[in-house]
């Protein structure tokens, strides 16, 4: 697409219009988008076309359309975070990621659906209704960034932005047969990202190929003075790494604890076949053990809600967003409580209360304190594993996409879906998911996860690019080209 634009075979305006037409055709079934910004997108596309006609030097993604997760503030465009409490809010500023997208000439089509405040693994927790998986409309597209992943799989957009606190980029990528990358913590600025769990949140690129993800990665990553946790170091050369197509002599560590029991048979099969491809390409497979990962899920479900209970205190009905019950007879605290009752959904309330409990005196050491110690143990496990291997791998999710509604009433079962993705966030390292085939039992996509040490995001792109090329050669086409046709009705 980018080369067609550069060669002027197609204009950015035409490309944007084609994507809006596709969205109109299929989004009634998929429901990936919460808001479309036709006016803004076409004006950006027109400006890119004019610059190109004038011979200006443009970035490699100039004119390419993108779907933006509704967790990112975009000036003047409704930003809801999937919540009623922010319905109708139009941010007065751009997130740093949005500024960088605009500067790169990328055309933002609209905002995508998500679990409310990014809390969930299925996008069923959105206050605006669920998104459907383009591979099977009765199934979930993953979460929290299900709108972004579904928009890619349904060919409504070629690029998307996600955010990943416990797997919200990688698990949706896995279940929709797309590519999703959570960069090293601090690689992409969090300025303008509605905070869920500040020590875990990280924005990243979503695409249909590893190289597209790398190109988008280089647009959004880099130091930002507006985010004090942003890394002040050069961005690893991920585009060059994705093009290397060579893993000879690399050591790839398979994490023993992230496989076997609890993982769907077809998921394990496809994962092992992908490993064989890497061996054929010259990599060496080693088994590594991370014994403390069994506590990662428990620690995550204390740390993330704790940070969320504090972060979401800002939705107080005073300065922006919803206000309920302000009839002159009630005081501020009562209005606040009524607003938060009406504005937050079930899962968000559940996590705020859990976090409030874990942080309350008398329980702090037992819960939040212990969870932070587990975090240290997980980082030590990774350190030991990376001493034996250049990158680590596992299936991205234990199962393929489950049915909408299947786990909605069992929060603990829902949380288990994130078992392989959460340790990455706890340690702040990089993680990628790319498709490695369809599970034979249900014909649904399986995700292959690659983890690289902090600040070495290029390594996962190198292995991911090589694996993708090997699998495409084996299949004779890309996996996503096998997705069922939509909009036929």
């Amino acid at each position: 697409m980018a080369s067609a634009l550069a060669n002027k075979d197609v204009s950015a305006v035409d490309l944007a219009n084609e994507h809006f037409a596709r969205i109109e055709e299929v989004d009634g079934e998929v429901h990936a988008f919460l808001y479309l910004d036709k006016e803004g997108a076409l004006s950006q596309a027109k400006s890119v076309d004019e610059k190109r006609a004038a011979g200006e030097k443009l970035g490699p993604l100039a004119g390419v359309p993108l779907a933006l997760k509704d967790v990112m503030a975009q000036k003047g465009i409704p930003t809801t975070c999937g919540s009623k409490i922010l319905e109708g809010w139009r941010p007065p500023y751009d997130a740093t990621v949005v500024t960088r997208l605009k500067d790169a000439g990328i055309v933002i089509l609209g905002k995508t659906n998500m679990d409310e405040f990014a809390m969930g693994s299925s996008t069923e927790n959105s206050a605006y209704g669920p998104t459907h998986n383009p591979w099977d409309l009765t199934r979930i597209p993953g979460g929290s960034g299900g709108g972004s992943s579904a928009s890619l799989a349904a060919f409504e957009a070629p690029l998307a932005i996600g955010t990943d606190t416990g797997g919200s980029i990688r698990q949706p990528a896995a279940v929709t047969g797309t590519v999703g990358v959570k960069p090293t913590y601090g690689a992409v600025s969090r300025y303008g990202l509605v905070a869920f769990s500040s020590s875990l949140d990280q924005a990243g690129p979503c695409a249909r190929t590893v190289l597209d993800a790398a190109l988008l990665h280089e647009v959004i990553a880099g130091h930002d003075g507006k985010d004090s946790s942003s890394i002040n170091a050069p961005v690893p050369a991920v585009v060059a790494a994705a093009k290397k197509l060579d893993v000879k002599g690399m050591k790839i560590g398979v994490i023993k604890e992230l496989g076997g029991e609890g993982f769907q048979k077809g998921v394990s099969e496809r994962f092992n076949e992908a490993l064989e491809e890497l061996v054929k390409a010259g990599a060496e497979i080693v088994e590594v053990s991370c014994p403390n990962f069994e506590y990662a899920l428990a620690a995550y479900y204390l740390i993330a809600p704790s940070e969320a209970s504090s972060n979401l205190a800002r939705f107080d009905s005073m300065r922006y967003g919803l206000r309920v019950g302000d009839d002159g007879s009630r005081g501020a605290e009562e209005v606040m409580s009524l607003t938060r009752q009406a504005g937050f959904g079930k899962e968000v309330k559940r996590r705020i209360i859990l976090g409030t409990y874990a942080l309350s005196s008398g329980y702090y050491d037992a819960y939040y304190g212990s969870a932070q110690r587990v975090r240290t143990l997980i980082m030590r496990d990774y350190e030991a594993a990376f001493a034996k291997a250049d990158v680590l791998v596992s299936p991205t999710a234990p199962t393929t996409a489950f049915k909408i509604g299947e786990k909605a009433d069992d929060p603990v079962a829902m949380y288990l879906n994130d078992i392989a993705t959460i340790p990455v966030n706890m340690a702040g390292i990089g993680g990628m998911s790319l498709p490695c085939g369809l599970a034979p039992e249900d014909g649904l996509p399986v995700g292959f996860q690659i983890m690289s040490p902090a600040m070495k995001d290029d390594l996962m792109y190198q292995v991911g690019g090589t694996l993708e090329a090997a699998l495409n050669a084996k299949w004779g086409s890309t996996l996503i080209s096998q997705a069922p046709a939509l909009g036929a009705k």
Binding site: R90, P92, Y93, Y185, G186, S199, G225, S228, S229, N292, E294, Y295, A298, A299, L302, D316, S317, M318, R319, Y320, G321, L322, R323, D326, G328, S329, R330, G331, A332, E333, V335, M336, S337, L338, R340, Q341, F344, K349, R350, I352, I353, L354, T356, Y357, S360, A366, Y367, G369, S370, R373, V374, R375, T376, L377, M379, P411, V412, M426, G428, I429
Partner: protein
């Protein structure tokens, strides 16, 4: 034994400033009980000699030069306010009994 009672949930909801119906409290108490049983395991893993990690990056006191840069105009800052009055956020009464 239940790890958390309905009364405790009601107290937490008050602390978190979320009004809750009787149904919501019942439901949440039993769900939280399940979740707490599931996360209880962190205590067996975490020995006292392991230092806690609050953040993946070893950053300390990140500062920037104190330079004035353009910021939001009062109109922009108030653009999302539920109620405003003369460049101020207008909020319900915060002290004493509301009338």
């Amino acid at each position: 034994m239940a790890a958390i009672s309905r009364d405790e949930v009601a107290h937490l909801a008050r602390l978190a400033r979320i009004e809750m119906s009787s149904d919501e409290l019942d439901h949440l108490a039993s769900e939280l009980d399940q979740i707490l049983h599931a996360v209880d395991r962190v205590q067996e893993a975490a020995k006292d000699d392991v230092p806690p990690t609050s953040h993946p990056l070893p950053l300390k006191n990140v500062t920037r030069p104190d330079v004035v840069v353009p910021s939001l105009t009062p109109q922009d800052a108030l653009s999302g306010a539920p109620a405003s009055d003369e460049q101020r956020f207008k909020v319900p009464q915060i002290l004493g009994d509301a009338e």
